[in-house]
Amino acid sequence: MKWELVVGLEVHAQLLTDTKIFCGCSTSFGAPPNTHVCPVCLGLPGALPVLNRKVVDFAIKVGLATNCTVARMSRFARKNYFYPDLPKGYQISQFELPILEHGYLGVLDDGGAPKDIGITRIHMEEDAGKLVHPETPGADYSHVDLNRACVPLLEIVSEPDIRSTGEALQYVKKLREILVYLGVCDGNMNEGSMRIDANISVRPEGQEEFGTRAEIKNVNSFKSLEQAIIYEQNRQIDLIEDGGKVVQETRLFDADRGITLGMRSKEEAHDYRYFPDPDLLPLVIEDEWVEAARDTLPELPDAKRSRFRSQYSLPDHDADLLCQSIDMADFFEEIVTLHDDPKAASNWIMGYVLRDMSKDELHSVKDAPITPSHIAGMLDLIKAGVISSKIAKDVFDAMWATGKEAKVIVEEKGLTQISDTSEIEGIVDEVLAANPDEVAGYRGGKTKLMGFFVGQVMKASRGKANPGLVNQLLKSKLEG
C-alpha cells in the first residue's frame, strides 16, 4: 500500500525584545541564574502581569509577513499545570482568541509546484524557566533558574498541510528567514530561540480522513526535523502494516539516536483548564496600530529574491544565497552601489565572504572584519588592471585578516600587477631561454605546454604579471 505523510508544525519563536513579556526584566541570555527576575516573573504572591507593547508590535509584523488576519480583539488565557519551572502554576498564553489567524507561507512541493502551507494561528505567550539538574549521580534535588521565565514567545501553528520532509524543511526555513528578516527572533535553533513540535500522521494515499497523529517534541534543528519525520513516518507505517494501531500520544525526539520515544498517552494528557486571564484586559488592536506596523516592514525574502533576479540579472542560486539574510543582501547591494558589477560582487560573496564567515563562525556579515567598500575597492583594482584576479584572492585574505582596504594592501605588499610590456618581455625571454626542450616541444605541436609557460612566467613575476599580456607575449614569441 502507498502511504501519504501528513505533518503540521508548531514553532515556538523567542522574541528579541529587550524586556520580558509581562515585566521589565532583561531577556538577555547567559546571565547568572535568577538575576534577571522580579516579583512578577518569580510569580510572587500579589504580583501582576503588564503586557509589553513591543511584543504586540512584533506579533503584528509576523502576522503581516505570514499573511495572517490581525484580530481586533484577542485575549490572554491561563494554561494551568504544575511544574517547578513554572512559577505561577500557570503559563499566560492565548487560547480561544489568538492575536493572529488564517495565514500561509508558500513552498514548492516535491514535484516543484508551488503550494501554500496554511497557518492556523499565531499567539503570544510567556516562556517557563528551566531546571538545572545536578551532575552528581543520585542527587535528590534540582535547581530552578527563572531568568527565562516570562521571556516572550510566539507560537506559530501550521495547518496539517505538509506532505513531505522537503515541504517541512522549506516551511521552517522560510518562517525562520521571515522572523530573522523582521528582526523579531534571532533564529538560533541550537540556543533554543526556535523550537519545533511536529504533529505527524500517515494515511493510505487517496484517503481523505487523517490518520491518528503523534506529537513529536524536542525537535531543535533542521536535521532533527528531517530525521524525526522520517523515523516517525516509518514507525507508524510499520506499525499499521504489522496490524497495529497508531495511538494518539506525545513522543520525544532523541537527537542522539535519531528516534522518537513515547512520553505520554492521550489519557495521561494534561487538562490545562484554560480560561481568560482576569489580570489582563482583552487586547484591542486598532487599524492604525496595524498600519503603523505595516509601515515598518522590511522587504520580505521572497520579494527581495525576485528583485535581485531581475534588477541585478542574478541566477536563482545567487539570489537565494544572498537573500538568506537581510544583512547579506544589504552588504551585496552596497557593493553594487560602489562598484557596478553585480555578478562579480555575488561571486566574491559566495566564494570568499561566506567561506570565511563560516570559518570564523560569524552569524552576520555585519560582524565580518570587512565592509562592502573593501570588496568594491578590490573590484575597482581588478577592473583597472592594477591587480589580477589571482592576486585579488591574496588581497581578499589580507583584507579579512587585517581589515585594511585593498588599495593599502596592494601598496604595502607591492602587489601591483606588472603591465609594462618590456618588463614582462624580459621575464618571458628568461623563461623561454631556461626551458629549450619545452619550447621545442611546443613548436612541435604540444600547444598544451602554454599553461606551463604561463605558470613559469607568473612564478617568476611572483604573480604580478598581467596574465593577458603574458599570454599575448608568449604566443607571439613561440609562434612568431
Binding site: P45, G46, F275, L280, L281
Partner: protein, 485 residues
C-alpha cells in the same frame, strides 16, 4: 491620655497632630498599648510590628515638624494580612505562607508608607480571604468586640474587629464578595468597596482577580474618604487599574443630599431577612428621604443567581491563583517521595478545609467537558447581573439595602454547613460581580445590642455620591459607637 487617644478617629488625630497637641509617637504608643491590652481577647492581629510603627511614627513627627504633612501622616493603619509588605511576614492567615517575608511592597502599602502612615501590624482574616466569619484562619478565629461569642464577619474580620475595638483608627480590608462590607456590618463600622479598578491590586494576594478590591475600614465616613483618597489612583503595575484623576472624596462630604435619588431593590427585602434588620434599614431609608433624598423602588431581577455565579467564577479563579503555592519557592514545604507527592503533601498540610474545598470547586468548573456548562455560563449570567445594575442606575444614584440578612452569628453556628455560610453574602456578592462601588455603615442595633449595617451601592466610579449620602446619614444619626470591651 493614651486610652482617650485610641477613641479618636483618624481625622481627629490629624487635627491633634497638626495642632502639636500630641506626637505621632504618642499616638503609635497608645494604639500599641491598646493592642497589647486587648488583642488576646479578640485575636485581630497576626503580626504586631511595634518597632516598625515607632520608627515610622518618629519619621512622621519629623515630617510634621518640617511641614511635609499628608492626610495620613502619623496615623496608624492596620493592614489585612493579604497585603504584601516588604520585610514583614505576610501569611494570608494560611499555614502555607506562615513564614513568607515578601521582598516587595504592594502599591497600596507603598502609597501609605509614602504618605507617612504608621503600620502597627498585620490583621487576621479568613485564609486567603475565603470565608464570611473569620473562622477559617489558620491562626485562630477573630472575636467580635461587641460579643466575644460571636464572629466578626469575614473575610476582613481582623480589620473590622481591630477598628471596632479601637486597636487602630483605620484599617484596610479587601472585598471579593462582601469581605469588607459584611464584617463592617457585623462590627458596627464603615467599610467601603471601591469600583473595580479604582485601587491597585498589585501586592494584594489574589483570591479572585476579577472581583478583588482593596478598601478602607474605619469608624466613620470621613475617615473612609481620607483613606480612599490616599489609596485610589491608576497604577501602571496593574493592568486592570483604571486611568482616573486624583480623587478628593473627603472634600466632597457636603452633608447635602437634596435630590439624590435612592433606589430600594425589592429582591433584597425577602423572606429570611431578620425583621429587626428590615426595620432598621427601612428607617434609615426614611431618614435619607427626610434629609432630602428621593426614594423609589427598583428591581435587580437576576439577584437570586448571584451566589451561584460567584461560587463558580471566584473558585475557578482561585484554583488558578493558588497554584503558585507549590512548595518550590517561598511556601512551607512538606517533602514527599517525589515531586508530585511533595506538591500533594505540601498543599494538603498547608491549606485549610475551606481553601481546599474552593480549589476543588474551581478546578471542577474549569475542567474539560464542564467549562461551558459552568464557567462560561456563569460569565454570561454575570453579564446579566451587571446589566441589572446598569438599568437600575439609570433611575437612581444610590441603591440601599441591608448589608447582611442577619446580625453577627455565634462562633460555630454555621461552620458545619458551608452552603448556609455562603448565603451570608447574598446581598453583597452582586455588587462585586458588577464591579461597582458600595459601602456598609451602621444604621442601628438589634435587641441584643449587635450592630446592623446599611449597604449603599452606586454606579461605576460614583464613590463620591455614595460617600456623600453615607456622610449625611451619619451626621444625622448616632449609630457609630464603641463597644465596651
Amino acid at each position: 491620655m493614651s486610652s482617650e487617644l485610641t477613641l479618636k478617629k483618624g481625622h481627629e488625630l490629624r487635627a491633634l497632630l497638626d495642632g502639636g497637641e500630641v506626637s505621632s509617637v504618642e499616638v503609635a504608643r497608645a494604639f500599641l498599648d491598646r493592642i497589647d491590652e486587648i488583642d488576646s481577647k479578640i485575636n485581630a492581629f497576626l503580626t504586631v510590628t511595634a518597632d516598625l510603627a515607632l520608627e515610622q511614627a518618629e519619621a512622621a513627627d519629623k515630617r510634621i515638624r518640617e511641614g511635609r504633612v499628608k492626610p495620613l501622616t502619623g496615623i496608624p493603619v492596620g493592614l489585612k494580612d493579604l497585603l504584601v509588605t516588604k520585610g514583614v511576614r505576610t501569611t494570608c492567615a494560611s499555614r502555607i505562607l506562615e513564614n513568607f517575608i515578601p521582598p516587595y511592597d504592594g502599591t497600596v502599602v507603598a502609597k501609605l508608607r509614602e504618605a507617612g502612615a504608621v503600620f502597627p501590624g498585620k490583621l487576621n482574616m479568613d485564609e486567603f480571604a475565603m470565608g464570611s466569619s473569620n473562622e477559617n484562619s489558620a491562626f485562630g478565629p477573630v472575636k467580635n468586640p461587641w460579643d466575644l461569642e460571636r464572629v466578626p464577619g469575614g473575610s476582613s474580620g481582623g480589620s473590622a474587629a481591630s477598628v471596632a475595638a479601637c486597636e487602630v483608627p483605620l484599617a484596610l480590608g479587601s472585598d471579593t464578595g462582601g469581605s469588607i462590607r459584611e464584617p463592617a456590618s457585623f462590627c458596627g463600622i464603615v467599610g467601603v468597596k471601591p469600583t473595580y479598578g479604582r485601587v491597585s491590586r498589585y501586592g494584594l494576594i489574589a483570591f479572585a482577580s476579577s472581583l478583588d478590591q482593596i478598601g478602607p475600614m474605619t469608624r466613620d465616613v470621613k475617615d473612609a474618604a481620607l483613606v480612599l483618597d490616599a489609596i485610589c489612583g491608576h497604577d501602571p503595575k496593574d493592568s486592570t487599574s483604571i486611568m482616573k484623576e486624583a480623587t478628593d472624596f473627603a472634600g466632597a462630604l457636603s452633608g447635602d443630599i437634596k435630590g439624590v435619588r435612592i433606589g430600594v431593590p425589592k429582591e433584597y427585602f425577602v423572606e429570611g431577612l431578620d425583621p429587626e434588620i428590615e426595620r432598621a434599614v427601612k428607617d434609615a431609608i426614611a431618614k435619607l428621604e427626610e434629609l432630602g433624598a428621593e426614594v423609589k423602588e427598583v428591581s435587580l431581577p437576576h439577584t437570586e443567581y448571584a451566589v451561584a455565579v460567584y461560587y463558580l467564577l471566584a473558585t475557578a479563579e482561585a484554583s488558578s491563583n493558588l497554584a503558585r503555592f507549590d512548595s518550590v519557592r517561598y511556601t512551607t514545604r512538606v517533602d514527599g517521595s517525589d515531586l508530585i507527592d511533595t506538591y500533594k503533601k505540601t498543599r494538603a498540610a498547608g491549606f485549610g478545609e475551606e481553601v481546599k474545598r474552593r480549589i476543588m470547586l474551581g478546578t471542577y468548573a474549569l475542567s474539560a467537558g464542564y467549562y461551558d456548562a459552568y464557567y462560561r455560563r456563569a460569565q454570561r449570567v454575570r453579564t446579566l447581573i451587571a446589566r441589572d445594575f446598569a438599568e437600575a442606575f439609570k433611575e437612581v444614584d444610590v441603591i440601599c439595602s441591608p448589608t447582611v440578612a442577619s446580625v453577627a452569628f455565634k462562633h460555630g453556628e454555621k461552620t458545619s454547613d458551608p452552603l448556609e455560610m455562603y448565603l451570608s453574602d447574598i446581598f453583597t456578592i452582586p455588587l462585586n460581580l458588577a464591579g461597582l462601588p458600595g459601602l456598609s455603615l451602621p444604621c442601628g442595633f438589634s435587641g441584643e445590642g449587635m450592630p446592623i449595617g446599611l449597604q449603599m451601592m452606586a454606579g461605576p466610579f460614583r464613590e463620591e455620591v455614595l460617600l456623600k449620602t453615607a456622610y449625611a446619614f451619619e451626621e444625622a444619626t448616632d449609630f457609630s459607637r464603641v463597644p465596651g470591651l
